[in-house]
């Protein structure tokens, strides 16, 4: 108790020196909470968007299908059994048929992955209802990025060439009936959506699909001949990306924290040097050296307490404001090729704040203890004289 009382009095008595150290440390603390909050916010939003737009609550794959190997797509299709159809009808699953194709927008040639989807599906947010518009012929919908890459607009016609189940080439004109906007580039770049029935007919794969996407009310039970991929598997790449971003950010945060702690270390060294007489007095009054070391350690560590309080004063309103308006990363989202919302809303948890708090307090206490150890070797008689030791 004496140590805390003395520490606070000495800190406040030191004036500007204390507040400069506190300001730097509080900045480091607030920035750490903000950065990890932003990463967590990005993570949560990204996962939610990916689930809403692409993976649902999990997917059943053809056993040979590999998302990263386009050569597997050709043969990765299985018939939809009556049991599967029942689940589709009940809204538990939605089938997706995949076929590689080449499209010719404005006479240019471009690869695309055709995704045959059920126009009536409600599991994914893709506006598949636009595929029911067949007044101009076969309909297709594409994402905004795909539209920019291909320079296609709503109402445009595009030639598509594909190979059917037997390896025969065929071609057809499709009308773009809608362009949707989403933050998940993997379902946008190079993808074109057409009605499942139409694609099944085009490829001669009647009643077949490559992937079954599970909805919220699916019980995710095994389906014969299909391999279930849960959301952890499907989001592993995104998770890895977030972890690598966090790791990179951690290094920067660490450097900032070290700079702030260095300031406290310097202050402590100077303080002990200047207050030798005071140290001698404490010992003369009956304190043990260990207790005196404790006073100076607590004094240094108390910087972190003040830093947290000061950080809370400006940090809390800042975080609330950022959480309200969100953080925009502008038009760079489209070029990054990663799932990132146009506006990220940071997500702060009690765990994040407490962990950061503990790191700051412990590290400040350690850097305060290191120079204070010297006190245990001081001669009180020399300290009382203010003699350099």
């Amino acid at each position: 108790m004496i140590a805390f009382k003395l520490a606070l009095k000495n800190l406040i008595g030191a004036g500007l020196r204390t507040w400069l150290n506190v300001a730097v440390l509080s900045f480091a603390f607030v920035l750490m909470v903000f950065y990890y909050g932003m990463m967590d916010g990005w993570n949560r939003q990204g996962k939610k968007d990916t689930k809403d737009w692409e993976i649902g609550q999990g997917q059943y794959w053809h056993p040979d299908y590999d998302k990263y190997d386009p050569y597997t797509i050709q043969d990765a299709h299985l018939p939809l059994t009556p049991e599967i159809k029942k689940q589709i009808k009940e809204g538990e699953l939605t089938p997706v048929l995949l076929t590689q194709a080449t499209i010719y927008p404005q006479g240019r040639m471009q690869s695309a992955l055709l995704r045959g989807v059920d126009p009536d599906q409600k599991i994914l947010k893709i506006p598949t209802s636009h595929l029911k518009d067949t007044q101009n012929g076969y309909s297709a919908i594409i994402g905004k990025r795909m539209a920019e890459n291909t320079r296609l607009k709503v109402g445009d016609q595009v030639l598509i060439r594909w190979r059917d189940k037997n390896g025969m080439f065929d071609a057809i004109d499709m009308h773009i009936t809608a362009i949707f906007k989403c933050d998940v580039p993997s379902i946008d770049n190079g993808q074109m959506y057409i009605s499942l029935d139409v694609l099944q007919h085009m490829t001669n794969m009647k009643d077949e699909a490559s992937i079954l996407v599970a909805g919220e009310n699916s019980d995710l039970k095994p389906i014969e001949n299909w391999v279930f991929k849960d959301t952890d598997f499907l989001l592993a790449e995104f998770d890895a990306l977030i972890q690598s971003k966090k790791a990179g950010g951690t290094i920067l945060q660490g450097v900032l924290l070290i700079i702030a702690l260095l300031a406290i270390f310097d202050t402590q060294v100077l303080s002990i040097f200047r207050r030798q007489k005071e140290i001698g007095t404490y010992i003369a009054l009956g304190m043990t050296r260990k207790q005196v070391v404790g006073i100076f350690t607590v004094e240094g560590g108390a910087h972190s307490i003040l830093a947290i309080l000061v950080g809370a004063v400006y940090g809390i309103p800042l975080f609330i404001w950022l959480n309200t308006i969100g953080l925009s990363f502008g038009g760079s989202n489209a070029d990054m090729g990663i799932t990132i919302a146009e506006k990220i809303y940071p997500y702060y948890t009690l765990g994040l704040i407490v962990t950061t708090l503990i790191i700051v307090v412990i590290s400040a206490t350690i850097v305060s203890y290191l120079p204070a150890r010297k006190i245990s070797k001081m001669k009180p008689t020399d300290a009382l004289k203010g003699k350099l030791q």
Binding site: N10, G13, T281, I283, G286, M287, K290, T381, L384
Partner: protein
């Protein structure tokens, strides 16, 4: 008069480069309860060194120093701190008050270390401040006080725990004549009323006039030990 300090064949040497400097050389002294005595001598005669050893801030190189029946050489750091906390008060030339604490808090400090309860502490502190005539300055900080007032606070701090021994190292060196006399009269009164042993290290003539016993030191040796009537 019970003996509370007993020094026998005390030698203290300090290393200086490759050789040694002998600060105290075969000192033999004893002091009883309630004495008002002082060590006088020129600079470097060993006055402060002797005071530091009695106060357990330093240890003898040879010989023994028994204070309150405890051998200074054999005390651990913790025991040494306890001896100082409970039985010895210090008064320094430069007052050595804690600048961030008020007068009350400075005087209270030793009692906090003894873990005395709040009510008793307050009572003891106010009593000590009354002894030195500073009851109206409880909330002042040392920077607001004069030199004489600072030294009176230091006296109150040393006396608040009612020690058996008070060690005063050149207590009047930074004070003018009027304040010096005032301080010395206060200490004399406390010595009489509380039967506290006061030991001074001084070369100030004004202090010597108040001392009942003068131990003269020269080059670390006791050259005379006189009791005044």
């Amino acid at each position: 008069m019970a003996t509370i300090i007993n020094i026998e064949n005390l030698v203290k040497r300090f290393p200086v480069g490759k050789s040694y400097f002998t600060a105290l050389n075969q000192v033999n002294l004893s002091f009883g309860r309630g004495e008002f005595a002082g060590f006088v001598g020129p600079s470097g005669s060993g006055k402060t060194t002797l005071l530091n050893i009695i106060g357990s801030l330093d240890t003898p190189t040879e010989g023994s120093a028994i204070v309150m029946e405890k051998s200074i050489s054999e005390l651990t750091h913790k025991q040494s701190a306890q001896l100082r906390n409970k039985h010895i008060g210090f008064i320094f030339q430069t007052y050595n008050l804690l600048p961030v604490y008020t007068v009350f808090e400075n005087v209270e400090f030793s009692l906090l270390l003894q873990k005395m309860n709040g009510t008793e502490r307050k009572k003891a502190v106010m009593q000590a401040l009354e002894w030195v005539g500073l009851s109206d300055k409880v909330k002042s900080k040392p920077s607001m006080l004069s030199g004489g007032e600072c030294q009176r606070v230091a006296i109150a701090r040393s006396m608040v725990k009612k020690p058996e021994i008070v060690l005063a190292d050149e207590p009047t060196a930074n004070l003018d004549s009027k304040n010096s006399h005032h301080i010395l009269q206060t200490m004399k009164t406390l010595n009489k009323e509380l039967n506290v042993t006061f030991l001074f290290a001084t070369h100030d003539e004004k202090v010597m006039k108040y001392l009942e016993r003068i131990v003269s030191l020269e080059d670390g040796k006791v050259v005379s030990d006189k009791t005044s009537l």
